[in-house]
Symmetry: C2
Subunit: 235 residues, 2 copies
């Protein structure tokens, strides 16, 4: 299940030697990792392992019980560490949640990205991307739920996630249009609008057919793609 889910640490840390340099320099210089982990990064292998246990447990706890039902005790006892250990790595429950959201945003992108390269025209690649997204959603329902709930717990993270996702889709539409694969619609606004429409469609399809139900991702993606390509109108 949560195999490939722990890039927080991996994104936040530099390989060994650099980390020590950062430590000595007092405040972390790397802005991304500073924001993500502050001065609470683990400094030994043991610490790293503990942090990872907490993160895995947190995904489960938040995913199953939601942010406010989730408790630190719940997380630490799942992780089989003492309550106080949590505060070695995070300043608060919110901070942990934010870290997870940012990480998962990356997870989703990375999981879908491969489907977007390779053969076929732009729309065909979108079909594959949707199928990949549905598979991901089915396998990581907790992730789905956490991103959804970030709308209320970490609005900036939520907004950032969807704005960058929409921007990526809009850019792909622009490329496809430039290659003559789309019918007109060159206005920037149109591309943005359609990007948000497509993204919303994907999210809700994920909710309905991957998180709640479990339909064949390819079948759903194919139906949807036919609609996206040809529209619903007669003739």
């Amino acid at each position: 299940m949560g195999d490939r889910i722990l890039t927080i640490t991996e994104a936040a840390r530099d390989p060994g030697t650099k980390r020590n340099a950062r430590l000595r320099s007092g405040k972390s210089a790397s802005p991304a990792s500073a924001a993500a982990r502050g001065d609470k990064a683990p400094r030994t292998a043991r610490g790293e392992k503990t942090l990872r246990k907490i993160l895995t447990a947190a995904i489960e706890e938040f995913g199953e019980r939601g942010f406010s039902e989730a408790s630190i005790v719940g997380i630490t006892s799942r992780a089989k560490v003492a309550l106080g250990t949590f505060y070695t790595y995070f300043d608060s429950k919110e901070e942990l949640f934010q870290a997870l959201v940012r990480d998962m945003s990356v997870q989703v992108r990375d999981h879908v990205a491969p489907a977007l390269s390779g053969t076929g025209d732009g729309l065909e690649r979108e079909r594959r991307a949707l199928a990949a997204f549905l598979r991901f959603a089915a396998e990581h329902k907790q992730v789905y739920r956490i991103i959804d709930e970030s709308e209320f717990v970490d609005p900036e993270g939520f907004r950032a996630h969807y704005e960058t996702t929409a921007a990526r889709i809009a850019a792909r539409l622009g490329d496809a249009a430039a290659r003559g694969e789309l019918r007109e619609d060159e206005s920037a606004l149109a591309h943005e609008v359609i990007a948000w429409a497509l993204m919303g469609a994907n999210v809700f399809l994920g909710l309905r057919f991957a998180v709640w139900g479990s339909s064949d991702p390819d079948e759903i993606a194919t139906i949807t793609n036919r609609f996206i390509r040809h529209g619903l109108g007669a003739r």
Copy 2:
């Protein structure tokens, strides 16, 4: 702002005389209102007014601060009633939230429904419905937020809202198809898939262009509708 937002009471109560009958019979007979208000329905004009004040305040409080940040004190002080008064009308914070969600689901439907009748083919009417929805979302951002948050606070309400909404869209697609207004796609699954895709598109467009930004609803709806009708594919 919250003009037409208080049907909880209105749906829950019968006009005067009947209410007294219900009162005398002890337990409320009307199933809908019983579920919504239990035995805590107001029995005087004064009570009705107080309940209404609490509901209005609750929409503001939940809309601005979200479920867990919102507090009963926050609600009652906005409503300018004492803390304890809240418990005359609701058993808990959750119960109030659920009541609001169920009510708002109806609100959204009622606000969009008029756009769905009248001239034009099925897709044209969907265009008007989307525009109406965007206008509603812009005017009632709190409502938007409350329905969104119900995914975590009142999952049944959330699910019911979107499932019935999707079912309505699918039914309209079925009708349009029967009238020969759509290109093939008769399978029930296809209609359901497309209904969820359209609904998701609408929701995200509302979020981006009505709640966060404020674009011209008609422009957004027109762009979207062109896409829905003709698709994105070349030729």
